[in-house]
Amino acid sequence: MLSFLYARQSGLDDPVRLRRAESTRRVLSLELNHNRDVDRIHGNGINTLDIEVVDGRYMLSGGSDGVIVIYDLENNSKKPQYTCKAICTVGRSSRHVHKFSVETVQWYPHDTGIFVSSSFDKTMKVWDTETLKPAEEFQFDGNVYCHHMSPIARKHSLVAALLCSVLAVGTKDPKVQLCDLKSGSRIHILQGHRGEILSVRWSPRYEHILATASTDSRVRVWDVRRASGSLFTLDQHNGDKSKASSEAVNTAHNGRVNGLCFTADGLHLLTTGTDDRMRLWNSATGENTLVNYGKVVNESRKGLKFTISRGCSPEFVFVPCGSSVAVYGLHSGKLITMLRGHYNNVDCCEFHPDYQELYSGGKDCNILAWVPVLRQPDIEDEETNSKRGGTQAAINPAFEDAWSSEED
C-alpha cells in the first residue's frame, strides 16, 4: 500500500491505479458487518434495491407487499454501530400504494426528486419524492416485470417498461413499451420476443441502445431510433449452428433468460439463465466471449437482479445464488467467494461504488449490508495519550514500559 502511495506521489503511477487497487482490495474483503444494519420495514420479501447515482446516499427498496421504502445510507453518528434508517415509506396505508408486488424501483438518474416503480398491478408510477404521491401513472395490460431508465440519456427521457401478456389464443405478443417521462405518453413498442420479457437494461455507453431478455431464451439488442426490429440477437454458439439442437439455434441460453447487466463501461453484457449458466457477451458485436463461470444456480421464476462492481480491476460480478450471493471474477470466470448470511432466497443486490459496499435483499425481508473489513484499529486509550504529552503513535500495551522507578 505504501509503495502505491509513493508511486502516485512521485508520478510513477497513474492516480487511477491506486484507486483501482484499493477498491479491488476492499471488494475482496467484503463481509457481513455486525456494525451496519438496515432498518427492517418490509413484511414480505424484498424484490428490488436501487442506490441513487448522484450522491450514493439514498437507497430505494421495493417489496412483494407493494411497499416502497427510502433509506439513508450515510453514517452521521460518530459511532461505528449504525442502522440505516428508513426516511419515508409508501406503506399499505397510503392511498397511492401499489396493489400487488413491486417488481422494480429506480431513482431518476439525475437527481432524487423522482423515482419510478413498476409492479404486478399492471401500473408504472412516477413518484414525487417530497410528497410521496405519484406524479404520473402508466396503465398497462399485462404484468410489468421490469423497467429501466437510461442512466446517461441527455436527448431523451424514455423509460422502457416490459410487459408480458398472458399468451392465450389470439392475444397480443409480449412487447417492450417505451414511455416518455417528459410528455407522459407512450412513444412506441418494440416487438419481436415470443415469450415474457423478464429483464431490460439501457446501455450505459450509448443512450439509444437497449437490451431485453425473455423466457423464449433469447436476448435482443435494440436501437430505439430504428423503426424495424432488433439490431441483433445474442447467440450462445456464436453462429456455429452445429453445436445446438435445432430448437436451440440462435438462443442465448438453454432456458429462460432472467437477468441482464451491462458492465460499467458498457462494452460487455452479462446474462443469466435458468439453464444455470451465466454468459458474458461483447455488447457491440453480440459475440459470446465464452468465459465459463460454471454452474450458477438459478431457479428464479421472475427476473434476477445482479450487479457488477465499478472501479476495480479485475471487475467482480455479484449474483444471487439461492440464499447466498456468489462473487465471480468477470473476465476470468472464477468463483471468488460466496457471501452467506441470508435466511432465504436472495432476490436482488446492489453495489455502492464509492464505498465498495454491497446491499442485498431477499425473501427473508432483510437487507444485508456487506462492508469491506480491512484492519481493525487498535483501541487507543485517550487518557494515556494525553499524559505522555502526545507521543506519536499509541504504543501497544504489550510493549509499554511498565517498570517505574518512582516510588510512591
Partner: protein, 255 residues
C-alpha cells in the same frame, strides 16, 4: 490482531499456497501452463476398454477436465485449440445439452475402421473420415453441407447413419457420433446415478473423495470409480470442499 485469512488480490502480494492433504496435490495442477493433453491422456486411462470388447475408442467428457483444473475458461480454450489442430474430436452425446464427449482423432479413426472392416459401408466411411478429420470441427451436419460440400449422395448418407458415424438430429441434419456408443451412454448414466446415490445416502450427504474412490463398485457401476468421481465433480453435481483430511464431496440438492 486480526488473524483471519483474507482474500488478497494478486497486485498486492504473492498468495501463499495452502497446505492441503497429500492426495489432492498429486492430481491438482496448480501451475498455469498445465497441459490439457496430458490430463486427457490420464483420463483416457481411466476408461475401461474391455467392457465394450475394444470396439469403442476411449471417451472422456469435457467437464471431467474441469475437476482437474481451476480455470474453466482456460480449459475450454485449450480444448478448442486441440480441436482446431485436428487432434481432438468433440461429440454431442444427447442426454445433456452441456455434456460433450472428447475422443482423440487417431483413436476414433482406428476404431471406426476396425469396426467397419469387412462391411459394405467401409468405402463410404473412409471417404467421410478423410473429409472430416483434417480440418472439420463441426458437431453436426445438415443436408446441404453433406450434399454440396462433401459431395455425398443420399444413399451414402444412409450408409453413414447405418454404420453409426452419423445420428439423426432433425429432419435433414445429423449429429457426428461414435459408433456403438449407445451402450456407453447407458452404462454411464446408470453409473452416474449410482455414484451420486452413494454420496447422497452417506451420513450428512457428504463423503471424502478418497473414501468414495475406495468403495467397491456395485453392479450398476461399470466404469472405474475415479472416472465417475471426476464426472460428478466437473459437472458440479456435488460440491467440492477442501478439508484437512482431504477433499470432501457434498451432495448438492436440486439435481
Amino acid at each position: 490482531m486480526n488473524r483471519k485469512r483474507a482474500l488478497i488480490a494478486d497486485t498486492f502480494c504473492l498468495t501463499k499456497k495452502r497446505k492441503c492433504a497429500v492426495d489432492s496435490v498429486s492430481e491438482d495442477s496448480q501451475d498455469g501452463g498445465a497441459d490439457i493433453k496430458s490430463n486427457l491422456q490420464y483420463l483416457m486411462t481411466l476408461f475401461s476398454r474391455k467392457l465394450f470388447n475394444d470396439t469403442l475408442p476411449p471417451v472422456v467428457l469435457k467437464h471431467q477436465l474441469y475437476s482437474l483444473h481451476n480455470d474453466k475458461t482456460l480449459v475450454d480454450k485449450q480444448v478448442n485449440e486441440l480441436r482446431e489442430n485436428g487432434d481432438l474430436l468433440m461429440f454431442q452425446l444427447g442426454f445433456d445439452s452441456e455434456a460433450f464427449a472428447l475422443v482423440f482423432a487417431e483413436d476414433y479413426k482406428a476404431k471406426v475402421l476396425q469396426g467397419e472392416d469387412g462391411r459394405k459401408t467401409l468405402g463410404t466411411v473412409e471417404k467421410f473420415l478423410a473429409k472430416l478429420l483434417p480440418n472439420c470441427s463441426d458437431l453436426s451436419f445438415n443436408k446441404e453441407k453433406m450434399l454440396k460440400e462433401f459431395l455425398f449422395t443420399d444413399s451414402e448418407i444412409t450408409q453413414l447413419v447405418k454404420s453409426g458415424v452419423l445420428t439423426v438430429r432433425d429432419a435433414g441434419s445429423w449429429w457426428l457420433s461414435i459408433p456403438n456408443s449407445g451402450k456407453f451412454i447407458k452404462y454411464f448414466i446408470k453409473g452416474r446415478k449410482a455414484v451420486l446415490g452413494m454420496v447422497r445416502k452417506s451420513k450428512y450427504g457428504e463423503i471424502l473423495k478418497t473414501e468414495l474412490e475406495g468403495r467397491p463398485t456395485t453392479s450398476q457401476v461399470k466404469f472405474q470409480m475415479k472416472y465417475h468421481v471426476h464426472d460428478i465433480i466437473g459437472a458440479e453435481l456435488v460440491e467440492c470442499i477442501q478439508t484437512t483430511s482431504g477433499t470432501l464431496l457434498r451432495y448438492v440438492d436440486g439435481n
